[in-house]
Subunit: 329 residues, 2 copies
Amino acid sequence: MAERLLDVVGIGNAIVDVLANADDDLLVKQGLTKGAMTLVDAARAEALYAVMGSAIEVSGGSAANTVAGLASLGGRGGFIGKIGNDQLGGIFRHDIRANDVIFETPSAKSATPTARCLIFVTPDAQRTMNTYLGACIELGPEDVDAGLIAHAKVTYLEGYLWDPPAAKAAFLKAAKAAHDAGRKVALSLSDAFCVERHRAEFRALVHDHVDILFANEAEIRSLWQAESFDQALQATRGHCEVAALTRSARGSVILVGEEVHVIDARPVAQVVDTTGAGDLYAAGFLYGYTGGRAPYDCGRIGAIAASEVIGHFGARPETSLSELLLAKF
Amino acid sequence: MAERLLDVVGIGNAIVDVLANADDDLLVKQGLTKGAMTLVDAARAEALYAVMGSAIEVSGGSAANTVAGLASLGGRGGFIGKIGNDQLGGIFRHDIRANDVIFETPSAKSATPTARCLIFVTPDAQRTMNTYLGACIELGPEDVDAGLIAHAKVTYLEGYLWDPPAAKAAFLKAAKAAHDAGRKVALSLSDAFCVERHRAEFRALVHDHVDILFANEAEIRSLWQAESFDQALQATRGHCEVAALTRSARGSVILVGEEVHVIDARPVAQVVDTTGAGDLYAAGFLYGYTGGRAPYDCGRIGAIAASEVIGHFGARPETSLSELLLAKF
């Protein structure tokens, strides 16, 4: 248990990313949906790895990236997620703890390996993700430390958690523990295809349990089956206290009660790999939010954090975001 | 066995690099010698990993990097080295084969894990390496496929092979197999501290077995215990047919018999991480050499290949070197 209050506890799939450059032809040949996160089984993961180029391995997972980013900004974070008893699990644990994030979830009891996300990065810097959930399917409510949740200002949940069956119960237990302690619950919609898979449940979730919602344009349009961004924006009003809607190079729009704030993206010299852009935007936003900053400032910090992570391969910051913040804000 | 002649077969330690940013303070606190490769045991590797920041994993190993770089340039390569039966070994095998490099060495019979190199990258882009040799110590002469060697124009050996005891015999068997087949033997001196450890043996090796020598300024000065680069250059003459001596931003100097060629470095917008610079220079040089190019051209291709790898984290090219070559040569 943390002695000081934590800013954010993230709950999500504990994943090691395997990133390689790929051309568009390969995506077509392998029947991959560009820009999406697709769930794959062990056999398909092996087959895709076999056609993948030389890769780099870097700890990932949406909520884990967010908490790591928050820590890099100077915030205090915790993470709950399930790794396997293997080398990749050890790497995941090392990396998140190296950011001073509290991570004490017991690893999987079975021999199921740590989850991997095979990411094909095309020359347009888009990432096409293929996730083998592995040990993540063993995450359950018993892994949710209600004491840790109660000690965090915000509990941050990734929509991807709706994929492994037992994690839903963990998700709901965490939301209840947070609200019982007077804390906030944040949700990222994760991916438009994930919203597609769980739309009805996500709508109920947003309305009943979520205080702070993060979504990109495709996700929020999918949630409300909206024809335009503006239609999705209007549909979001009234469902949760805060909604931060991101639009890549077009910046973000923040809803806070009746207020609407429009924030520009931070220009980037070269976009190398967009993996983690949304995760890091959430990190920056929550760093501002838990620090009591105004909505516009929260969005700006989000934009700055996102701009760092899209300038290189991988979804965790390579430079100190707190120093970047001092320089740029 | 390859049907077409290979350009280069590399023999070296099969290593997965673990790279993280670090400040100079950390190096001082941990007693690390900046810029050097230090051998560490399993316990020390664990201890260093514990103080290391969030890292990325990428296949490495000096000779393996060279062969991967050669393949990226369009050359045909093979590799001989020992991995463990674990996830990191699987990653190493995947990455080198993804470059169409022939790699058939059986993995370790014991449970010894795959070798790792913990690399601390300081803000000046210098890398400080700590290698746990793991399964590499099981490489022996039985792993040297004399048929493969006979089918390659050049057999490329890394000086680091002098560290694991059984590998020396593999090294000498390979050199003999190459010469028996009328092929060339190349050696990289690897690291000034490695030269320090094995100076007398390296001098004999260079004189008796090596046709093409690669060394950076510190290494060649250490080999001859020379006061200056020029003194080392003069001392090198007459020992082997070709010597390519690299000097970072100062470019390289190539000795071919009585000829001396001076080649400029290729300017780089931002040096991110110098890991692999020497390995990729050798890749480019050997690509030119095995293609029958003139010495100056070999050095230029080496400079171009090195300039790509120092622009990002990790010691393997992230972009197609053959395309870079077409654009820049």
